[in-house]
């Protein structure tokens, strides 16, 4: 049951329809930012209002919702958003990727492969990949219309000239279906390859900036690079200290005053599932 006094999933049906119309347009033009009439939500701007509105517009009573922040289900803001929907929509929630029909995320894509029929909703702070190079929205819209992305390439080249490599580590720009330059939201570039030809529908919502955009299933998503400086992702010299994974994104945790560090999976569901599969004695406490 959802809380009385509010419509199912908080937003009124007219607003949800307006958002879904925007989403249809976004799916039809992959990577293109569609303006939408973002509402003022009872959660603060910058804390996922865009993602929350998309989720609210998409949720049905049969949906199973997973919410992650930094890959984890139990970080405070993920807990807060999950409770918001448990309260206003009364939908089932889960921490398991395989069980979820809709996954709202901030800053990560789950390690477990996604499937057809699943929807991932990304929370986006600044949807415009060109914003750091051009402050004016009028100008950046014109650049997208003309597919004029030289600024971005120059910026990446400047990195190479200065640092010998492309120094962008998260929110790493991508080209969608060979047409639109897109911000993948501040996911680490480690996650960028997961965007490419994903069987899941990937939707992006920026509430404060009032933009939404989409990557439909099986759409080509390329991370920008140069022939002599190909795109690469982060690698760690150690496995996850808890589950032993060598192929997941690791967070560094400082465990004492001497600065001792341990590396553990940022994706708590992935890490937990791997530990559950292994015999108990092999697991690090």
């Amino acid at each position: 049951m959802h809380e009385a006094g509010y419509n199912f999933a908080y937003l009124d049906e007219q607003t949800k329809r307006a958002i879904r119309r925007g989403l249809l347009k976004a799916v039809a033009i992959p990577g293109h930012q569609v303006p939408f009439a973002s509402r003022e939500m009872p959660l603060p701007y910058g804390w996922g209002t865009g993602g929350i509105q998309l989720t609210a517009a998409l949720l049905g009573r049969e949906d199973v919702l997973k919410v992650i922040d930094q890959g984890a289900d139990d970080t405070t803001n993920a807990v807060s958003i999950r409770r918001f929907f448990a309260r206003t929509a009364g939908v089932a929630t889960t921490t398991r990727v395989v069980e979820a029909t809709l996954i709202q995320t901030r800053h990560r894509i789950p390690e477990a492969p996604l499937a057809e029929g699943q929807i991932v909703v990304f929370q986006v702070p600044i949807p415009e990949p060109l914003r750091w190079m051009e402050a004016s929205e009028r100008e950046t819209r014109r650049m997208h219309a003309l597919k004029e992305y030289g600024l971005m390439h120059v910026s990446l080249y400047e990195d190479v000239a200065r640092h010998g490599r492309i120094a962008k580590t998260y929110d790493y720009p991508v080209m969608v279906a060979g047409r639109y330059l897109m911000s993948p939201s501040p996911i680490p570039k480690f996650d960028n390859p997961k965007l490419d030809r994903s069987p899941a529908l990937q939707l992006f919502g920026a509430g404060r900036e009032r933009r939404l955009y989409a990557v439909p299933p099986y759409t080509e998503v390329n991370s920008l690079d140069f022939d002599d400086h190909p795109f690469t992702v982060e690698r760690w010299s150690q496995p996850c200290a808890l589950c032993g994974a060598t192929d997941s994104y690791l967070d560094e945790i400082i465990t004492d005053d001497a600065g001792t560090r341990m590396l553990v999976c940022s994706d708590t569901d992935h890490c937990g599932a791997r530990r559950a599969e292994r015999p108990a004695e092999e697991c690090t406490p």
């Binding site: 701007y45 405070t76 406490p285």
Partner: protein
């Protein structure tokens, strides 16, 4: 041991209980009533209504109480409530010439039809802390009433100037529906209706600083307060099924007509131009700041060079909303350790490439 900054539901619940306890303060001290807040902290209530875009003193008082007097938090509460309300339509334009005047001053004319009405104002008070007020209990003697009521006709100063063509005419109503930024995202360049809506909801401090910057030479536009008026105006609405206007209530508003110099351009002769400010409640500082910024933002339209922040439409409109601003600034408190991890790896790699391992301390 694996300890991480993760808050479960219990931690959040308990944090909120602590907040409620802190909000209430010492239970031995009487609790604030909404009547007290609305009646005695009217400046706060008016500001919250103005920036919350919702005229309801009681709800604004509740928001202030719930927010522990944090006005931006109170604005946020009111805005979030506002977005759940149905929108019936747009009222008829307020006729501020018909305002029941409480205060009306002009800095451009010594006297004018209707006269100068000082009204309840901080102007000319000496800002000395009143320790008798700290003691409390005293009811101030009522202000003396004038022998005659204020003049029934209180024409707006800008209209008086307009009769001679000295000031640009007010743009005629083009009959198009008024924009609403809460229903449509900005499309730049935005029309003046949406700009004024954004400024009316905008943060008082931000607009004050921008207006001030225009006075200090960052987009100077030579302003005079043509008129500042405060009072009650009727709100009229035309229900579709009736077809004529009915009065649905009254609002207290502050209106500022700024009169600005304009030397003329190739197309237009020298003429005074307008900057306009209108806010809910008694908000002179905000109305004046809004009028200064409105005029500054007309630079492009008046063929003036657009050089200063106050003249940059995208800069002003994208940053004047304090609910958006506070949300995004404060979101930096959210965990960012995934992004930070990426940056750590990159900084280490760059330092290693530069032949300076991360572990090695820098030379002093």
């Amino acid at each position: 041991m694996y300890v991480s900054v993760k808050g479960g539901e219990r931690a959040i619940d308990n944090a909120h209980r602590w907040l409620a306890e802190a909000r209430r303060g010492d239970p031995a001290v009487a609790e604030l009533s909404l009547e007290q807040i609305a009646g005695q902290l009217a400046g706060s209530v008016d500001r919250v209504m103005a920036e919350g875009s919702l005229y309801d003193p009681e709800l604004a008082a509740l928001a202030i109480k719930q927010a522990r007097g944090d006005l931006i938090e109170a604005v946020f509460l009111l805005r979030a409530y506002r977005s759940t309300l149905p929108r019936f339509g747009a009222a008829e334009p307020l006729d501020t010439a018909q305002m029941a005047i409480r205060r009306r001053v002009s800095a451009t004319f010594k006297d004018l039809p209707g006269g100068q009405i000082l009204g309840p104002t901080f102007d000319y008070t000496h800002r000395l802390l009143d320790f008798q007020l700290a003691a409390g209990g005293a009811v101030p003697p009522p202000a003396e009433r004038a022998a005659e009521p204020v003049a029934p006709a209180m024409p707006r100063v800008a209209d008086l100037l307009g009769a001679d063509g000295l000031i640009e005419p007010e743009a005629a109503d083009d009959g198009r529906p008024v924009g609403d930024l809460t229903r449509e995202p900005f499309r730049f360049p935005v029309d003046r209706d949406v700009r004024l809506q954004a400024l009316a909801r905008g943060d008082e401090g931000f607009l004050l600083a921008l207006g001030y910057s225009s006075q200090r030479g960052y987009g100077r536009n030579h302003p005079f307060v043509g008129e500042l008026r405060i009072g009650e105006v009727a709100v009229e609405f035309v229900p579709e099924e009736l077809g004529f206007a009915v009065e649905i209530g009254t609002l207290t508003v502050t209106e500022c007509q700024m009169v600005n110099q304009f030397k003329g351009s190739a197309e237009r002769p020298a003429q005074f131009t307008r900057g306009y400010g209108l806010v809910f409640g008694h908000g002179e500082r905000k109305a004046m700041s809004m009028a200064l910024v409105d005029r500054a933002l007309r630079a492009g339209e008046l063929d003036e060079a657009v050089q200063a922040p106050a003249q940059d439409e995208e800069f002003v409109l994208y940053h004047c909303d304090n609910v958006q601003a506070t949300g995004f600034v404060e979101h930096l408190k959210l965990p960012h350790y995934v992004d930070f991890q990426s940056e750590l790896e990159m900084v280490r790699a760059l330092r290693a490439a530069a032949g300076r391992p991360a572990e090695e301390p820098e030379d002093a």
